[in-house]
């Protein structure tokens, strides 16, 4: 099969020979199920085994150190024996503050939920104001910078004086602790909305309300969620301390009460739960953020 070369202004162009290149069709072979399950098992093992080893070693070390007579803290075996009832029956309710751990934790979580939700709404609102208006920023930013450095518990006496009750005071302390990172991060997010998006909104002539919902919130969402995540961590820190002082049902006071009755094992169990719940709260907000900001960060 011959094809003439095309001559054009001294440039010779050879048409590519239409050779019968062998076409090989590769049928995708299904990976045998044993292979894929084996891989999942290996991946899981690679994640789970190292922390398990570390925890076991630490427990062993703790057991050895605290087993000696005259040790001030109980070893893990004693903690388990002392708190077996609390672990396996978290739902008992003998009236007053003599309740299972579930009730203490749920009381604390309810306070956090209320205070934190208020902080989220108010914080995002104020953050939008400060991010959007130069005058609001100049007026409010110095105030925020000073107020945010006040430790959570320093607010408690003032709150008690104002509300004359423990419950709203604890909620106020959570509110005032978690609001600052939400305000500051939201304001940064609003200030960082690309001019391009503002131009698009201007050309389309979105009104301020549509601009808020359709441009501002989605564009600032990654920043807002950073603030919300810091905020939830801080509010969990604050509630334990606040509850120690206000008393009543709640994990904070449970710890304080255990200390007063010298139930050291109960303190250790409570700390374990506090840690786990703090971790879960943090992950929950982070997961929510990933869900909501899906696709926002990439442009």
């Amino acid at each position: 099969m011959t094809m003439p070369a095309i001559r054009n202004d001294g440039v010779t162009i050879m048409p590519a020979a239409a050779a019968n290149a062998p076409v090989v069709a590769i049928t995708p072979r299904r990976r045998p199920w044993r292979d894929s399950y084996g891989r999942i098992a290996r991946d899981t093992a690679a994640r789970v085994i190292p922390p398990l080893i570390v925890i076991t070693l630490l427990m062993l070390f703790w057991e050895l150190v605290c087993r000696r007579t005259g040790s001030t803290l109980p070893p893990p075996s004693k903690v388990y024996n002392d708190t077996k009832e609390l672990i396996f029956d978290p739902f008992f309710d003998h009236g007053g503050i003599d309740k299972g751990l579930f009730w203490h934790l749920s009381a604390s979580l309810q306070r956090v939920a209320l205070g934190y939700s208020l902080a989220a709404v108010a914080g995002i609102g104020l953050g939008v104001l400060v991010g959007q208006s130069v005058w609001a920023m100049r007026g409010l930013d110095p105030l925020f910078q000073v107020l945010r450095t006040i430790p959570p518990l320093a607010w408690l006496p003032l709150a008690l004086a104002a509300f004359r009750d423990g419950q709203p005071s604890a909620i106020f302390v959570i509110f005032i602790t978690s609001i600052w990172p939400i305000i500051i991060n939201t304001a940064v997010g609003i200030r960082n909305i690309p001019q391009d998006y503002r131009n698009v909104a201007a050309v389309v002539q979105l009104n301020p309300l549509e601009f808020f919902w359709k441009i501002m919130l989605p564009s600032a969402a990654p920043y807002i969620f950073t603030g919300l995540r810091i905020g939830v961590g801080l509010s969990w820190l604050a509630i334990i301390a606040a509850e120690m002082l206000i008393g009543g049902v709640g994990i904070g006071f449970f710890i304080w009460d255990a200390w007063n009755s010298s139930h050291i094992s109960e303190i250790i169990l409570a700390l374990f739960y506090v840690g786990i719940i703090g971790f879960v709260l943090d992950r929950a907000i982070a997961g929510l953020g990933r869900l909501v900001t899906h696709g926002t960060s990439a442009s």
Partner: protein, 264 residues
């Protein structure tokens, strides 16, 4: 009959504190309905500022813009912009990005179903219906710019403003999109004002080329009519005498008479 779009003695001064820079000086230009006009000049000559003034995103210090004898001061969908970097909203799908403008512009005049159909129609004009449910991060640069064009077209603008629309694309994609824009202009007869720094692009697409002098105080140096009939074919033009002459004129203007002097 007065002009469709008129840029009337536009001056633009940027001032920061005591220092002020005159970017544009005495720009006067009239554009007829259905005309394709390109503005070409070296970077920093203020051509993007000029487009922003027409779009209403920036205001002129002196002079103004008249569209069908009405002064325009603020941005609006009658002067839709295709931005250089596409500016699609990353959290919306391709369809939703176009629909955003459609919903605003035709809120009262079209029903929900009609707005849906109109959005899809405009996506089909740029051959992007197949990706309507993808997000901007999942499609290529050329596709994003197509969606940007669809978003602007869907607002049924009186003037379509293109701000270096193909600047960020590779040469092959750019040629492909230029052909699309040519076809759309031929089909829909929009009035288009395009900013570019690509001589071939300007000559290929425009009816008239506005050449700007270097800033500061940039102004219109020369306006060149491109006497080539539409539709134009890229390959045929490569040897067309009129095309080469136009190209020569623009190159001479840019590289001989108004050579770009970089700040040393």
């Amino acid at each position: 009959m007065s002009a469709y779009l008129k840029l009337d003695h536009i001056d633009k001064v940027f001032s920061r504190g005591a220092a002020s820079t005159e970017v544009l000086k005495d720009i006067t230009l009239t554009i007829d309905r259905g005309e394709f006009v390109s503005i070409i000049g070296h970077s920093g000559c203020g051509k993007s500022t000029l487009l922003n003034i027409v779009a209403g995103l920036t205001t002129a210090t002196m002079g103004g813009v008249l569209l069908e004898d009405h002064e325009v001061n603020s941005p609006g969908p009658d002067r839709a912009v295709v931005f250089q970097n596409h500016s699609l909203l990353p959290w919306l799908t391709v369809y939703q990005n176009v629909r955003l403008g459609v919903d605003k512009v035709f809120a009262k005049t079209k029903s929900r179903a009609e707005r849906d159909a109109w959005t899809l129609h405009n996506l089909s004009l740029v051959q992007m219906v197949h990706a309507k449910d993808k997000r901007p991060s999942e499609i290529s640069g050329g596709m994003k710019q197509r969606v940007g064009i669809a978003r602007a077209l869907a607002m049924e603008p009186k003037v379509l403003l293109l701000d270096e629309p193909f600047g960020a694309l590779d040469a092959l994609t750019r040629a492909h999109l230029q052909d699309s824009v040519m076809a759309l202009h031929h089909k829909l007869g929009n009035t288009i004002l395009m900013i570019t720094h690509d001589v071939d692009e300007a000559v290929l697409l425009s009816d008239r080329i506005v050449m700007m002098t270097n800033g500061p105080s940039a102004t219109i140096g020369e306006v060149l009519e491109v006497p080539l009939p539409h539709p134009r074919k890229r390959l045929e033009l490569a040897t067309n005498a009129a095309y080469l002459k136009c190209r020569q004129r623009v190159l001479e203007f840019l590289y001989e008479r108004h050579r770009f002097i970089e700040a040393a």
